[in-house]
């Protein structure tokens, strides 16, 4: 205690000095605009800096909560995405998703990708040549599809090239039906525009809307059922007056055809062997 009082007695001028300087500085900041503003701004900056540290520290401590909230949100969003995707899948029957529809219909079939090497659109008997032949597994009467839908049927095969009979050949005849209906008919082309073909033999009582989808029927073994061909653009009577003739806007753009796929029909050998069996059975019966 004695030491303390002696300490104060000995160094009291220091305390006085600090006090007086403090008073001076307070006066300085209080009554001088310039120094006051400098002090104020730098004090503000200091305070802001300290506040920022505090905020950072608190933010770091709260990271766990934030993380949990974010992952919860993430989960909810993922769920929403899944729901929306499902909804989109259900709604999606438009032409824009053609490629996907075609691919889905072809699911389970082997496809041979090929490139168009020669093509014609101006004649009545147009042919398409692709760069895959027997060596690649292409056989006659295999279906050919492109990104827009059905292209045609393999007509002749070479070793490395094949000749395709496209829809836009007057000899072409593909069995098609209307999506959502039981009615089917033959798709034929009569020359002229390569954008349109005609679907014949649709009964007159069929209720058809313009814009309906025309797809393969699956009756001809060449194409699996449900492949997109085109859309109905005009409904008219057939020349014979007994049925309707639908003008179909073809999904495939034949003027701009480059990449196609040949559908390998795995059932064809089985069906062929059945036919052979039938023939031998018949000959055995007859003979």
């Amino acid at each position: 205690m004695n030491n303390l009082s002696e300490f104060f007695k000995k160094y009291n001028h220091w305390f006085l000095f600090v006090l007086l300087e403090a008073v001076s500085i307070i006066l300085l900041f209080r009554f001088n605009n310039y120094q006051g503003s400098v002090w104020f701004t730098s004090a503000n900056r200091m305070a802001a800096e300290v506040n920022r540290w505090h905020h950072d520290a608190v933010g770091y401590l709260h990271l766990k909560d934030v993380n949990e909230r974010l992952s919860g949100e993430n989960m909810a969003l993922q769920q929403q995405i899944a729901q929306l995707r499902e909804a989109l899948d259900i709604r999606d029957d438009s032409l824009s998703a053609n490629d996907r529809v075609v691919r889905e219909a072809l699911n389970g079939f082997t496809l041979i990708p090929a490139r168009v090497t020669s093509n014609s659109i101006l004649k009545n008997e147009n042919y398409v040549v692709i760069n895959k032949g027997r060596a690649d597994g292409v056989e006659t009467e295999m279906g050919v599809v492109g990104g827009g839908g059905v292209v045609g049927i393999v007509f002749l095969t070479g070793e490395h090239y094949s000749l395709i009979l496209p829809i836009i050949n007057v000899k072409s005849n593909i069995s098609c039906r209307l999506r959502g209906h039981r009615f089917f008919g033959n798709l034929q082309w009569y020359g002229g525009s390569t954008l349109f073909a005609y679907l014949n033999d649709i009964p007159r009582y069929a209720k058809i809307r313009v814009g309906g989808v025309v797809e393969t029927s699956g009756y001809s073994e060449v194409f699996p059922p449900g492949l997109f061909v085109g859309r109905v653009t005009q409904i008219a009577n057939a020349p014979d007056g007994l049925s309707m003739q639908l003008k179909v806007n073809l999904g495939t753009d034949f003027a701009n055809l480059s990449d196609v796929s040949v559908i390998v029909n795995r059932n064809k050998p089985q069906i062929d062997s059945l036919r052979i069996d039938l023939e031998s059975f018949e000959t055995a019966q007859n003979g």
Binding site: H13, L20, V23, L28, Q35
Partner: protein
């Protein structure tokens, strides 16, 4: 005791009047205003209590601040000088002066010119540095700050020397 106090008060009034009426208007190119109030602080003998010097320094500075409208600046710088005054005196004065039982008032006569000049110069420099640092309150313009400090120190030093010369002559006349 009361006599020295009144004497100092008289000195304070004289110095303040000189400062406010004359020297505050002395400027060379806008710089180098002499500040002479520090002279009062420099004249405390060694046996004065340090608290007393501090209070005198603060009061002098505050008074000058009131007249020059610079609250705090002179008070702070003169308080600093008041704190350092005894140490500066011990540092520069001769051994005889420091160990003198009578504790004479620091002057060119009692200390001789050389130590007294150094003592005054360093004290003035310290006060001017403190004052102008507080005035500028930044190192944004160091050249101007340097000119201010240098000019102020030089002018204050010269004026204080002149006053010291007058005082020395006066005391000599009195003694003879």
């Amino acid at each position: 005791m009361i006599g020295t106090f009144l004497k100092r008060l008289f000195w304070l009034v004289i110095l303040m009047l000189l400062q406010v009426l004359v020297f505050n208007h002395v400027q060379i190119l806008g710089y180098a205003t002499p500040m002479i109030c520090i002279y009062l602080i420099l004249l405390f003998p060694l046996d004065t209590s340090r608290s007393q010097i501090l209070l005198w320094g603060f009061a002098t500075g505050l008074l000058q601040d009131i007249f020059t409208n610079t609250p705090g600046m002179n008070a702070a710088s003169l308080t600093l000088v008041a704190l350092l005054q005894p140490d500066l005196l011990k540092l520069f004065a001769s051994k005889d002066f420091v160990e003198n039982e009578d504790s004479p008032v620091p002057s060119a006569r009692s200390m001789n010119w050389g130590p007294f000049l150094r003592y005054v110069f360093v004290a003035v420099l310290i006060s001017q540095v403190a004052f102008y640092l507080l005035e500028a309150f930044s190192f944004f313009n160091p050249i101007e700050l340097g000119i201010n400090i240098g000019g102020g120190t030089l002018m204050s030093f010269l004026v204080i020397l002149a006053m010291e010369g007058v005082r020395k002559g006066y005391t000599k006349k009195q003694n003879s």
